[in-house]
Subunit: 371 residues, 2 copies
């Protein structure tokens, strides 16, 4: 058995439908993870997330290690106890946020200043494991180096090399501590290489050689166009073992999602659906709808008349538009619930099309509206 | 039968427990009305309010007539249809907010500038009725003149006089339109008179003589001390018919509530519990608790360990404290739900003590903690 227990139950081209079973919870893939940056998905609670059918959420190590600190969260029984969330949690390594702060990097690790109070902190592959253990993550990510796009070849090479070295150290530290873990835990490796095909191939090979419980495609969806993204993503995915989970970090728009699913990716996270929501935009079967617009003032339609399972279907576009226009905070909440439920349902529909062998149609229809 | 159907089912001293039955919904008194200023109680939905057991909410005519406008709301079937709220709605007349804007007042009505866009509007006793009909209020308030405290005797006298004249006009307009109402509607008169005993007596007599479906005590809880408030409140309440509903406008702290209930008041509204919530303060059986304080960082206690029915009992003080400290909006939501459920439960306990003849104890215990 591959750990964690992941089974591909259907394929359609390279796209696949699977089941991830962990002690705490099982989920169907492809799956979307709402982002709970600071121990809460903005405007909603763990109870709301259960009700809309979220199976797994993402927590940000960078934020949580600084506020309220991993030891405090550990005292509550990890994020699960702290936020009272009973399903799965994946945490990032903190690296992505840290590298956006122009930190001091050397082979040993990375030194950065807290955006909360300017205090100095150091993250190493080993410490990233320890923090994520304290946070109680079911799936944790190894520390990697995520360069910006575009980046010079030399910068990408150093990033891939360091990502490899850190993967070895992070994995070794994880495995040597494995017997002390209180719950089932998995660790994922991360493939880097920017938009460079050769570096993507090399990085995938290196990370797979280290051997993880699953693999992520990192360093993409950071500003490049969708067309630029597709080939490096394909190459990365092709280099990963078929029987293990594949996670594309930071992707959440329907067009990007179907392209990644077409390459055989299983897991996704992104702030996009929730950020759009807080700015008044709803995801619908006909595309984005900006409910702040005056033309919706008298509309008695539901937010998305074709999405019957929306948790916000009791309220009309006109009502939401009013709440947005007078700054009532519940507007952002209702749209967050709607958009998360919508994108989770979108993943369900993607999966169904894979199972039924109609994924090509699903992909084309999605690209027509969202491409 | 007095309209709306209100029955006192138990008394303890002057305190009383009753039942208000309207076609749409029935409720037990004493009752507390959450304030839905702009068609939404801040941070929560109509569904949340159903779940915490709110029977009636208050809508602000001033805000709703300006944004989104009463005609738009009428098109949605009133606030009930707009916010999808199936229980009772009471609307104020708009006067209270308008008088805080230093408007131009004459015997005919009041002219004011919108705080949204500076546009000029006029409110008259007749127009206040019409707007509240468009909003679909189950209970509407007559337009009155609410002077500040302290105010000179002459100012109070003019206010009482105009309140009387406007009551006659407002009532007459309401009754002459009654056959056009699509749903059962009640109209309440308002007693004014500031802190002046004699004017309170006169105002109560005048308003009762006009004859309404229920009566409110207005112009108190506007900055005076609780001690200053009690006598004018008592005098106002004593002047009102025993078989009809009595509503104290703008009161919501437990000590004030028990004093008013002791005088035989049945209905209350206030932004206090919800405003406190958004600032991080919880209502508990032991008094206020400011959950923003660092000493709660590691607390695994519930928000109020003695209030078992809190809708936020899944989350600890420590978690709420963290959410507050990093500015997660869901903190204000959870505390709003908690505080509203707490104050609704407080009214239930008050009622129970009246039914059981132990209201004196309930009042003393409340004053010990909240007085």
């Amino acid at each position: 058995m591959v750990k964690p227990d992941f089974e591909v139950i259907a394929t359609d081209g390279s796209a696949r439908a699977g089941i991830l079973s962990m002690q705490r919870h099982a989920l169907k893939t492809p799956t979307f993870m709402p982002v709970g940056t600071r121990g809460s998905v903005r405007t909603v609670t763990s109870q709301d997330l259960e009700e809309i059918g979220a199976d797994i959420i993402l927590g940000n190590t960078y934020h949580l290690m600084l506020r309220p600190g991993e030891d405090l969260i550990k005292g509550f029984g990890g994020i699960h106890g702290f936020a009272d969330w009973k399903r799965l949690i994946l945490t990032d390594s903190g690296g992505y946020q840290v590298f956006s702060l122009e930190p001091k990097v050397d082979d040993g690790g990375v030194e950065f200043k807290s955006t909360y109070d300017g205090s100095l902190h150091r993250l190493t592959p080993e410490r990233a494991v320890d923090i994520q253990c304290s946070l109680g993550a079911d799936i944790q990510m190894v520390l990697d180096v995520c360069p910006p796009i575009p980046a010079e070849k030399r910068v990408l090479e150093i990033a891939v090399e360091r990502t490899h070295k850190w993967a070895i150290r992070g994995r070794s530290h994880f495995l040597s501590n494995e017997k002390t873990f209180e719950n089932e835990r998995a660790q994922f490796g991360i493939v880097q290489g920017g938009l460079d095909r050769e570096l993507r191939r090399i990085s995938a090979e290196q990370i797979v050689e280290v051997g993880f419980d699953g693999y992520a495609i990192g360093g993409l969806s950071v500003g490049e166009t969708r067309q630029e993204m597709i080939e490096p993503m394909q190459i990365s995915a092709e280099g990963l073992p078929k029987q293990q989970l594949r996670y594309f970090m930071g992707l959440g728009d329907p067009a990007g999602l179907v392209e990644a699913i077409a390459c055989g990716v299983d897991m996704f996270d992104c702030v996009w659906p929730t950020r759009l929501a807080r700015h008044g935009t709803a995801l619908t079967m006909q595309g984005r709808v900006n409910l702040g617009a005056a033309r919706y003032a008298k509309s008695d339609d539901a937010i998305d008349p074709e999405f019957y399972a929306s948790p916000a279907n009791r309220w009309s576009r006109g009502y939401i538009r009013h709440l947005l226009s007078v700054g009532e905070p519940v507007a952002g909440r209702l749209l967050t619930l709607h958009n998360l439920a919508w994108i989770i349902d979108f993943m369900r529909r993607a999966r169904e099309s894979i199972v039924q062998g109609t994924f090509v149609d699903f992909r084309n229809e999605t690209l027509q509206i969202w491409g």
